[in-house]
Symmetry: C2
């Protein structure tokens, strides 16, 4: 696998940036990786585990001479970071990001990008519930989708080169309009996250059911919600603040739908419930067929010491 | 492992009953297993795969001479089945069920249980998204909780003997008041299921986002919801109709909470969102520590061909 960028600067050293660094190292895709994080503890941890080839003491220092700059900070601070590094970007460099919302990032970052520097916003649809410099791993992106939303007029060669890097890390690349991206992700990710957070919050507040009961009996459906709700609070705060319109749009539809089902329960309308639940099974089958999940029992997650289950 | 019941009758031959039969066979826990299902296709399939030692042609025939009778039918028909088998139950036999709601089952079944027959309602907190006679496996119950809700006055020896069987199948047993069970499960299972169904339904209706996009980009949070929403429609229709009060109680709290967060998003109140998300992480840690889940990346679910991720 050939080196695609001589020097890659990673601003922010959490799950995504760390995984990118490890994937690039594993594939020999970058000549040198340089990293910066705002927190001294994170920089120290990154040095200690050798997460990147070199840890800089400022974002400006990190991007000096870099051919690719990856903004891997919460979307709420992308603009400030862009403003800080802009004077130090090498002509011909490419700047990308990995934020979960795209329109807000483009609005915040694009004005700071100098002429001659390429800006190709992106979003890897990958992650775990963990954060920080120790959480990344090289295989994170394998078989996952990575969406690119280059604004009109972006140099297609710069986009193609970044796409090649992403594919070399194992992901599938797709171009998308930024506004459409924000709506799709409001449906597939942002609103589901908010709903999961809310359900866990309800359980937390309920005095009549103890926390230990919620925890003990959580294999019953709640467990899946808690994984989603353990995501990084800072990242998600910014996602909701920065994708407000699309999220409120989908939330409105969600509450209409939920009240309809609540009414069906109150009225004892079993037929309506049965029809509704039957239709949702079809979407599940579609996901398994699209290769985005496994139909193995319990997601292939087996209790310790259990024999392998048959499907 | 000793035989705990000479003859076990399983009424209904889906995921739970099938798994019980296979677990009892694997552990030598029953002398003979007899099964019955209403659908001739299911009975034929059960015969073909040897799911039980003998398939009966009626529920009455199945329970004749049985020491333990397991009602593994949708909760909406438990009463009718109990009425049908009551005259054929052996004195001293134990009747149990595996329904996801308990008060409604007790109300429907208890009146039909003859004097001298023990009724020990139960609920195994285990399952997958699959249904039917081919879906069961012996390891389903390992390390899972199985709740028993014996009404006051139930013979403690009958309860203890059933508990021994359940432990021998690998589960942990806990006694609980039936009404409290229904509330706890409304929180940990029933309402989360309804919410997952609703989110999948919203995605299904949305015309601006195509079904293939929802499917392709579903690794982003939505995927977990779809697994929950692929559960058996008949079983879940009955759960909601039969646990109406507790579900409406929890749903009301959920919508209050959701509107509070929706307002915070609309007002741009980042601090409130951040606080809320920070608190929910603690519940997730509690679940991992209680041994009910794994903290391995992506639930230990790795894409085909990916290297093992580190935590």
């Amino acid at each position: 696998m050939a080196v695609l960028y001589d020097r890659v600067a990673l601003i922010g050293l959490g799950l995504i940036a760390g995984s990118m660094s490890l994937a690039m190292r594993a594939g020999g895709l970058a000549g040198e990786t340089v990293g910066y994080a705002r927190s001294p503890e994170t920089r120290a941890a990154a040095r200690q585990i050798g997460l990147v080839d070199r840890v800089a003491e400022s974002a400006a220092e990190a991007v000096a001479g870099a051919d690719l700059v990856v903004l891997a900070v919460p979307v709420g601070v992308m603009g400030a970071v862009a403003a800080e590094i802009a004077p130090h970007l090498k002509p011909g460099a490419t700047v990308t990001d990995v934020g979960s919302v795209k329109q807000a990032v483009i609005e915040a970052v694009a004005p700071h990008i100098p002429a001659g520097v390429h800006f190709v916003p992106g979003h890897p649809l990958a992650g775990t519930e963990h954060s920080g410099p120790h959480s990344g791993f090289a295989a994170l992106f394998r078989n996952r989708w990575w969406l690119l939303t280059p604004p009109e007029g972006t140099d297609p060669e710069a986009t193609a080169r970044l796409a090649a890097l992403i594919r070399a890390m194992g992901a599938n690349v797709e171009d998308m309009d930024a506004a459409h991206h924000d709506l799709v992700l409001a449906v597939t990710s942002h609103t589901p996250h908010l709903i999961a957070y809310t359900m866990v919050g309800v359980a937390d507040h309920l005095k009549r059911v103890t926390e230990s009961e919620v925890i003990k009996y959580s294999a019953a459906g709640f467990r899946d919600f808690t994984r989603i709700a353990a995501s990084d609070p800072t990242m998600w705060r910014d996602v909701f603040l920065q994708n407000k319109e699309a999220v409120l749009d989908i939330l409105g539809r969600f509450t209409e739908e939920l009240f309809m089902l609540q009414r069906a329960i109150r009225m004892g309308d079993g037929a309506q419930l049965h029809d509704y639940f039957t239709r949702t099974r079809a979407i599940r089958r579609g996901i398994i067929e699209a290769g985005q999940d496994t139909s193995a029992p319990d997601f292939g997650r087996m209790p310790a010491g259990a024999a392998t289950g048959q499907d």
